[in-house]
């Protein structure tokens, strides 16, 4: 089996499991008392955010490895992860305001976390634009992308820190508390299941996108 067909298989499985997430979240997970039904957006928004962050982290890592080892495959992987990450970022940026509006009363807020997600999006866009805009010499595209990927990944904590100095509206982390998660068991399971599915989706997408990159390299 080629990488592309294996990627398609993984994606297909992930999509089926995503249906499972939908069913479980919508029908078999209780309503949250204070936020109502809109709280269930959480089961899609947070895993999407995780995938988007994971993808950017992978872009940064692959960029460093490319500059150190000069292996074209790292560049191909970075390009794949960037495009996939952008897709998850769009999910995150659309579900975020849809969750914020009913729960906070506002579509958008310039708090630390939301602003960070917006910047993550613009980093992705900048990365993709740069790859498109670089023509010759060959190899320049990989090097420039790697430079941008590394700088961008280093930038993100600074964005978070500096924007944090403004008041933050974002809900405090309730899952990863050191003592015990304050999320009731049923909801936690749904969330973790969704995390798994979104991670699998990331893997399937990247495999396929990597295969696309291989195709254009050997064309």
């Amino acid at each position: 089996m080629t990488l592309a067909s294996r990627g398609r298989a993984v994606t297909a499985v992930a999509l089926l499991l995503l249906v499972g997430v939908y069913v479980r979240a919508l029908a078999f997970t209780p309503l949250e008392r204070f936020q109502g039904a809109a709280q269930k957006i959480f089961y899609l928004h947070v895993p999407a955010a995780w995938s988007a962050m994971l993808a950017m982290g992978m872009v940064g890592l692959a960029s460093v490895l490319y500059l150190l080892l000069k292996d074209q495959r790292f560049d191909r992987f970075a390009a794949a992860s960037a495009e996939v990450g952008t897709a998850f970022c769009v999910v995150m940026l659309t579900t975020g305001p849809l969750w914020a509006r009913p729960v906070w009363g506002t579509w958008w807020a310039w708090d630390a976390r939301l602003t960070l997600t917006l910047f993550l999006f613009f980093l992705y866009i900048g990365y993709l634009l740069l790859r498109q805009a670089v023509g010759d010499p060959p190899g320049a595209r990989a090097r420039y992308s790697a430079v941008l990927g590394i700088c961008g990944t280093v930038l993100l904590p600074f964005i978070h820190l500096s924007v944090y100095l403004f008041r933050t509206l974002h809900p405090q982390p309730i899952v990863l508390k050191p003592s015990a998660p304050s999320l009731p068991g049923v909801m936690l399971v749904t969330l973790l299941y969704s995390f798994g599915v979104f991670t699998l989706l990331y893997i399937g997408f990247v495999m396929q996108r990597y295969a696309v990159g291989e195709e254009s390299a050997h064309a």
């Binding site: 010499p137 280093v154 100095l165």
Partner: protein, 226 residues
């Protein structure tokens, strides 16, 4: 180490001498800065908000735009007559080239900012005399980090299509931490808060500068090597 700095200074001096001979770039950037300040004045309702509330933002955003413009020309000089290739053939290390470019850019932007500040004071009637040293230090800190990243990126974008558009698109996200921190600290300075209250912002600015100057110096060779 001294070789690094000596060579860097040679590069910087070359750029600055060229700038001095025809002052077009400097004058244009200065005029742009003044025009942005004027635009900001007409962009606000004077009866609605006190100047002091907007002043930090106006100053820092104007400086950000001016620096962006200045960075566009950073590698333009080398683009003409393929001077960059010539520069790369010299025994001067890549790092020296980067630091030299950085110094030249900082001098250029610094001069624009220095001339722009009195105009800002005049246009918006904001007293800065009593906090001038702190303000100058703060502006310097926030400019350095931003220009460090910009110098790196401008080396990359000159070989891309639509270079003038690419540079701001890539660069502006990196301008946010220095901008945010500068605005926060400037607001404290303008309203007469003691310097201690801005110390956290200044430390973070310094950290940003150190990280990105270091990173840019490390990564610069990747932008010019084949």
């Amino acid at each position: 180490m001294s070789d690094l700095l000596r060579h860097a200074w040679v590069i910087a001096r070359k750029d600055l001498v060229i700038e001095l001979r025809s002052r077009t770039a400097f004058v244009s950037t200065l005029v742009f800065t003044v025009l942005v300040l004027i635009v900001f004045n007409f962009g606000r309702d004077p009866t609605a908000t006190a100047v002091l509330d907007l002043a930090p933002g106006i100053l820092c955003v104007t400086y950000t735009f001016a620096a962006m413009l200045a960075l566009n020309r950073a590698f333009q000089l080398e683009l003409e007559n393929q001077a960059l290739e010539g520069l790369l053939l010299t025994p001067i290390s890549r790092r020296s080239i980067y630091i030299g470019k950085l110094i030249a850019n900082l001098a250029f932007v610094g001069l624009v900012e220095a001339v722009g500040l009195p105009l800002f004071v005049v246009f918006f009637n904001v007293p800065v005399g009593h906090v001038l040293p702190a303000l100058a230090g703060l502006i310097a800190l926030s400019t350095v980090g931003f220009v460090a990243v910009g110098t790196l990126f401008s080396a990359m974008v000159i070989r891309t299509r639509f270079a003038e558009l690419m540079l701001p698109v890539l660069q502006l996200p990196f301008s946010i931490p220095p901008l945010v921190l500068a605005v926060l600290a400037t607001a404290k300075l303008f309203t007469g808060r003691p310097l201690e209250e801005s110390l956290g912002y200044l430390k973070l600015l310094a950290a940003y500068d150190i990280v990105f100057i270091g990173l840019s110096t490390l990564l610069f060779p990747a932008t010019v090597d084949e």
